[in-house]
């Protein structure tokens, strides 16, 4: 199973406190105990925050080994994800530059125009609509369908559904959810957690139980899992393939990130590219031997 959204506790480049690190680790382990083995840590920033383009090691603040020792947990793999809150997509000219530093790239559009433009212009994997506050635009099936046709999936986060205490924000959330389910016709939806606290983690089956009463179709549950897999594959292909089309590895090897360089020390052009070259060399060596 997959959870593509475990929020990074900070929205900027400051260091985490010890407690935050332990909290994040606990969320991942709780997910692991519920048999969610592929987890993506989500670093969410505003479009106005400047990324440290000059020092490539620091673009991705998520250093997985500092958070969790993946080797202790058989089957677990942790990915990194960037979410940019988009208000004016013309500001995102440099977007393509930092795509190589994260496994997944997502946007969070605030206005309808931002949604539309970023679907057309940007190369993204996921769209996450801010569900917990009132949406100031109407999700049109045409735009949403355009995105799904392109292979971009929409994300539903259930965290605020469970954690929010005011009935007003819950009402917004449920109305937005129904809108999203209607606009996507239950296709191209990814269910992710977005849990900042281990207490809000639920298994996919249980959360679908609730969404079913909102009109999501239960028989699509396999599709949701498949969609998450698709999104992850798409993101990994960006880093590990030639022009996002050709890769030498098969599916499982693409998703296996144990060979990556998670600390990003040795690299200038995106921390995973270098590794790929090494792999390619190995392959050619093998072939010449044969």
């Amino acid at each position: 199973m997959y959870d593509l959204n475990v929020p990074w506790p900070r929205n900027n480049y400051e260091k985490l406190t010890d407690e935050q690190v332990v909290g994040l680790r606990n969320v991942i382990v709780t997910l692991y105990s519920l048999k969610v083995y592929k987890v993506a840590i989500n670093f969410e920033i505003d479009e106005s925050i400047r990324l440290p383009v000059n020092s490539p090691q620091e673009i991705n603040p998520i250093k997985v080994p500092e958070i969790i020792d993946v080797a202790k947990f058989p089957g677990l793999s942790v990915y990194t994800r960037l979410t940019v809150v988009v208000n004016d997509s013309s500001k995102l000219v440099s977007f393509n530059k930092f795509q190589n530093y994260f496994d997944l790239v997502a946007i969070k559009p605030v206005s309808e125009k931002a949604l539309q433009l970023s679907i057309i212009n940007l190369n993204i994997d996921l769209i996450s609509v801010a569900l917990s506050s009132r949406l100031n635009f109407y999700l049109k099936h045409k735009i949403v369908g355009q995105a799904i046709k392109k292979g971009v999936k929409f994300e539903i986060c259930y965290d605020s559904l469970i954690s929010s205490s005011s009935s007003m924000s819950r009402k917004h959330l449920i109305s937005n959810l129904i809108q999203l389910i209607r606009a996507t016709r239950s296709n191209g939806v990814v269910i992710a957690g977005g849990c900042t606290d281990a207490i809000n983690v639920r298994s996919l089956n249980n959360i679908v139980n609730f969404f079913e009463t909102l009109g999501l179709k239960r028989n699509k549950i396999n599709q949701f899992i498949e969609n998450s897999r698709y999104v992850l594959m798409n993101g990994r292909l960006r880093i590990n393939s030639y022009k996002q089309v050709i890769a030498l590895d098969d599916d499982d090897e693409l998703l296996d990130n144990s060979k990556d360089d998670p600390m990003g020390n040795s690299v200038v052009n995106g921390y995973k590219k270098q590794k790929r070259k090494g792999d390619a060399d190995e392959q050619t060596v093998k072939r010449t031997k044969i």
Binding site: A198, I199, E212
Partner: protein, 162 residues
């Protein structure tokens, strides 16, 4: 004669550790929780305090159904009944009517706290007979124990691959 049909929901109560500032007793658990898969599982499935009892569970489900589905949903809950709950294993079985058990499931998913104790309620099985629920529960427990054993063996270095 058609008999009265029921649904039996098997659930387990998981207790993830809380950040120390909210709950002092959990300080050690909070830091040791993520040491290995088996400590994680054992902490989540630890035995629950006596404040979590069938009555408290029924009350909090009723409250949540009322909160989320209003009077309409609460009307379906007349036959809600906790048939079995064990504090040691934190597992239980709930009986409810078979028409609108989705509301019960939905509300159980959204429960955050029982008697101000933070918990996750996880529904593992829904069945028409209580016997199947029981069988499933014992099967599930066996699996869990096997998982923990495998992990502890691995930690001791006896087993290298799974």
């Amino acid at each position: 004669m058609v008999r009265l049909k029921q649904r039996y929901i098997l659930f387990e109560i998981l207790q993830p550790p809380q950040a120390p500032k909210e709950c002092h007793e959990d300080r050690d658990l909070f830091t040791t929780f993520a040491e290995s898969p088996s400590t994680g599982l054992l902490t989540l499935h630890r035995s629950s305090p006596s404040s979590i009892n069938p009555k408290a569970i029924t009350n909090s489900i009723k409250q949540h159904v009322q909160e989320y589905y209003g009077d309409f949903g609460a009307g379906f809950l007349m036959t809600l009944n906790v048939k079995y709950f064990n504090n040691k294993t934190s597992t239980g079985i709930i009986r409810c009517g078979n028409q609108n058990f989705q509301y019960v499931l939905g509300a159980m998913t959204l429960i955050n706290k029982i008697e101000s104790k933070p918990v996750i309620i996880r529904c593992t099985h829904v069945s028409g007979t209580i016997k199947k629920c029981e069988q499933f529960a014992s099967q599930k427990n066996r699996e869990l124990i096997r998982c923990i054993e495998v992990d502890q063996k691995r930690a001791r270095g006896k087993l290298h691959t799974i």
